[in-house]
């Protein structure tokens, strides 16, 4: 609560009169009801189902498929003792930090910022190329990335042109390839958000800074970035959550392999739930993912609040 109005303010008192406030709540809240119901059915219920399921021994087949038993926290105990899980958690953090927080976010901002200074034609071409990867369905983008990095892929053919022999990149550097693929695929989102935000930066502010003798770098760091703080937090939150849940891209390119070398949490959860049939263990992993997503969101929301309070 950053600026709670003082209780004594007259407008506040008027609003508290009973009858009108109940009516107002009804009128204002009414249109929200369908959305709330949809959210409850398609979001809250599955989350609760997953959460409850993670305390059972439900499986895909066998006796416990139809008659799961309550096993308390056994799945979580197994999870936190499982070296595959620690590895998966680490890989997820690396993947999210490298491909979303650093890759998509910084690159997206850089492109958007440079586009404001580039000629219109260049900006349009660059924007088109970047957005192309983003409008592709994820499965198509994943196959393209696979075709690029695989042993007989585009990358190695290009290397061949200059006399180099490439390796099987998906095998020797699985994390690097999926991170690059995710940056390629997702940068457009950040770029679009930042383009919109940059056009909102008041020109008089920039002019004032210019008159005060600030150079380009100073204007960027001292004026533009502080003005965009809220946008940056929002963008970081969205790309982080999108990236935490990336599944298709990784599954198509490496299927989490070789071994577990690129099995981030969504891939790990899928393997446990559907390949090895332990639905309950898979839902426990999914629950942990939800918690991680929530922690990131709360962190960003806190940053956002501070940014707005400062304004």
């Amino acid at each position: 609560m950053t600026h709670a109005p003082s209780a004594g303010s007259p407008s506040r008192q008027r609003r508290r009169t009973r009858g009108s406030s109940a009516l107002r709540a009804l009128v204002r809240g009414g249109p929200l009801v369908p959305a709330a119901i949809l959210l409850a059915v398609f979001l809250i219920v599955p989350i609760m189902w997953a959460f409850i399921g993670s305390f059972t021994n439900a499986t895909l087949t066998g006796v416990t498929a139809t008659q799961p038993e309550w096993v308390g926290t056994a799945n979580y105990e197994r999870l936190f003792a499982d070296p595959d899980f620690s590895l998966s958690l680490w890989l997820t953090l690396v993947f999210t930090l490298a491909s979303a927080v650093i890759g998509q976010n910084v690159l997206g901002f850089a492109i958007a910022y440079l586009m404001t200074r580039a000629s219109r034609r260049i900006a349009a071409i660059v924007g088109g190329v970047v957005v192309l990867a983003w409008v592709l369905p994820e499965i198509v983008a994943a196959f393209i990335a696979y075709a690029f990095f695989s042993r007989e892929g585009t990358l190695n053919q290009l290397l061949g042109l200059v006399g180099l022999t490439g390796d099987n990149w998906l095998f020797i550097a699985p994390m690097a390839t999926v991170i690059l693929a995710n940056i390629w695929r997702g940068t457009a989102f950040s770029m679009l958000i930042y383009r919109a935000a940059l056009s909102e930066v008041p020109p008089d502010l920039m002019e004032a800074a210019e008159i005060d003798g600030a150079n380009g770098w100073q204007r960027l760091v001292r004026v533009t970035l502080p003005v965009l703080r809220g946008t940056i937090a929002t963008n970081l939150m969205l790309v982080t959550l999108q990236t935490l849940s990336v599944f298709t891209l990784i599954y198509v390119m490496t299927a989490g392999g070789p071994g577990n070398a690129s099995a981030t949490l969504p891939v790990f959860a899928y393997q446990e739930a559907f390949r090895f049939g332990s639905i309950a263990y898979g839902t426990a992993i999914a629950t942990v993912m939800l918690v991680i997503g929530a922690v990131f969101s709360l962190g960003y929301i806190a940053v956002l609040r501070r940014a707005e309070a400062d304004r």
């Binding site: 006796v63 042993r151 070789p258 071994g259 997503g293």
Partner: protein, 455 residues
């Protein structure tokens, strides 16, 4: 400002929803009035025999039963993904198919889950049932002793070798190794010969999934001292840990990869490596030998995925030997069945469709097209079966010493642990001893300490 903040909170929740896992999309049942039988099975570019069988059965069945529609729902997926999808579809009566292609290894678990309809009453009135071999009848039995599935055919595994490559290395054919050492000697001979051929491909690791075990590690493990009880002790019904045979088998795998007898590790871990084996390496005289199934010729016959006219003259098959030459050899068997869904609305029609698909004529053409080992006595006795390809007689003889996998509900997880053990060894992440110890730990965590037995 408050509105804006809650909009941000909402978008956080919405984005958070992306983190959730997604289920499968079901196909719906046909319209009212007519009766519909839905049939679920695998159809891929490399596996069309079953589709041919069901298309033919559909035509016959619809001609004989007016007003009945057979809705074929082929799934284009590998075995593992198909089984997952099938299990998921059984979770609701709206999506569960009436008749489906069912792996023998999951019959028991799926019967326990209540997905399969017990067929005893129906089978008692089906004259053809007596034609099925004892082993084939057993393949469909659940833990409660009732029969839940009817076998389509089985397979065996042996050591397939290239005659030109072996002869070029000075090995006379027909070739029959008696010990593991003989296999390694062959590989060394090919490696030191003039040919550039890959000497001996041994599937391993998680890339080729269950194939790594069936056409690889189990062929070794079941040929060690404990034999048929090397993975799962049948007497105590417990999983074996700490056995020397397990370590010896991993050492063999390590030797094959460290000596460069097999394909490079990154290619060996490619899930599609088997396509290179059938499509490029053997036809190109670029591979000495590998362990493969009795269905091998089906890829090369006219109409197969990798047609190769000269396969009959260029290929040979031998029984894979045991470690020290005890017994005639080692083979692993699997096989698929047809089953009826427990939630079906039309059990009688579904069973009738199943029997039509497995009739003498339909079985014969399926078994021949797919190079399966026949499970019906009348099919096995048919001249066209023996003459389907030059290897039928030999691979059928492997039935005498073949092994079946333990069909318990934990099997998939154990299988994955074995795949990880071989992968750790071929990638150099672990020594055979370390990988075996890690496997023991994993098995214990999967089935519990009471369900393992140290040998």
């Amino acid at each position: 400002m408050r509105a804006r903040r809650s909009a941000i909170a909402l978008s956080a929740i919405a984005a958070g929803a992306l983190v959730g896992t997604v289920g499968c999309t079901p196909a719906s049942e046909g319209g009212a009035g007519e009766q519909t039988i839905t049939v679920s099975y695998i159809r891929t570019d490399a596996f069309t025999a079953l589709d041919t069988l069901f298309q033919a059965t559909k035509d016959q069945f619809e001609a004989e039963n007016e007003g009945v529609i057979v809705d074929l729902q082929p799934v284009s997926a590998n075995d593992e993904d198909y089984k997952t999808r099938l299990a998921l579809s059984h979770r609701s009566a709206n999506t569960a198919p009436d008749v489906f292609y069912q792996d023998t290894t999951t019959v028991r678990a799926d019967a326990e889950a209540g997905y399969l309809l017990p067929l005893d009453e129906y089978l008692a009135e089906w004259d053809d049932w007596s034609q099925f071999s004892e082993a084939a009848q057993q393949a469909g039995v659940g833990n409660d002793g009732q029969t839940y599935a009817v076998s389509l055919g089985t397979d065996t595994r042996g050591l397939w070798y290239s005659i030109p490559v072996l002869e070029a290395a000075g090995i006379s054919t027909p070739w029959q190794p008696n010990t593991w050492a003989d296999v390694l000697a062959m590989a060394e001979a090919v490696q030191t010969s003039d040919s550039d051929a890959v000497p001996f491909m041994l599937y391993a690791g998680t890339g080729t999934g269950e194939g790594s075990n069936m056409q690889g590690f189990y062929q070794l493990l079941y040929g060690t001292e404990l034999g048929g009880d090397a993975l799962f002790d049948s007497e105590s019904a417990k999983w074996v840990v700490g056995s020397q045979g397990f370590i010896d088998s991993l050492e063999f795998v390590q030797t094959v990869y460290d000596e460069g007898y097999a394909l490079p590790v990154d290619r060996a871990l490619d899930p599609n490596v088997w396509q290179s084996v059938f499509g490029e390496l053997f036809p190109g005289d670029a591979l000495g030998a590998t362990i493969e199934g009795s269905y091998t010729p089906s890829f090369w016959v006219p109409g197969g995925s990798f047609e190769w006219d000269a396969y009959a003259e260029n290929m040979g098959v031998a029984a894979f030997p045991t470690q020290n030459g005890d017994g005639p050899g080692v083979s692993m068997s699997g096989g698929w069945t047809l089953a009826v869904g427990a939630q079906t609305d039309v059990p009688d029609l579904a069973f009738e469709f199943l029997t039509m698909a497995l009739s003498f004529e339909n079985s014969l053409s399926y078994v021949n097209e797919n190079s399966q080992i026949a499970v019906r006595a009348d099919v096995a006795a048919d001249p066209s079966y023996i003459e389907a390809n030059p290897f039928v007689e030999q691979v059928t003889s492997f039935v005498e010493f073949t092994h079946f996998r333990p069909a318990t509900s934990e099997y998939n997880q154990i299988s994955a642990a074995v795949q990880r053990a071989t992968e750790a060894v071929i990638t150099g992440q672990a020594t055979p001893e370390e990988a075996a110890a890690e496997y023991d730990r994993e098995v214990e965590s999967i089935v519990g300490a009471e369900q393992v037995i140290a040998k």
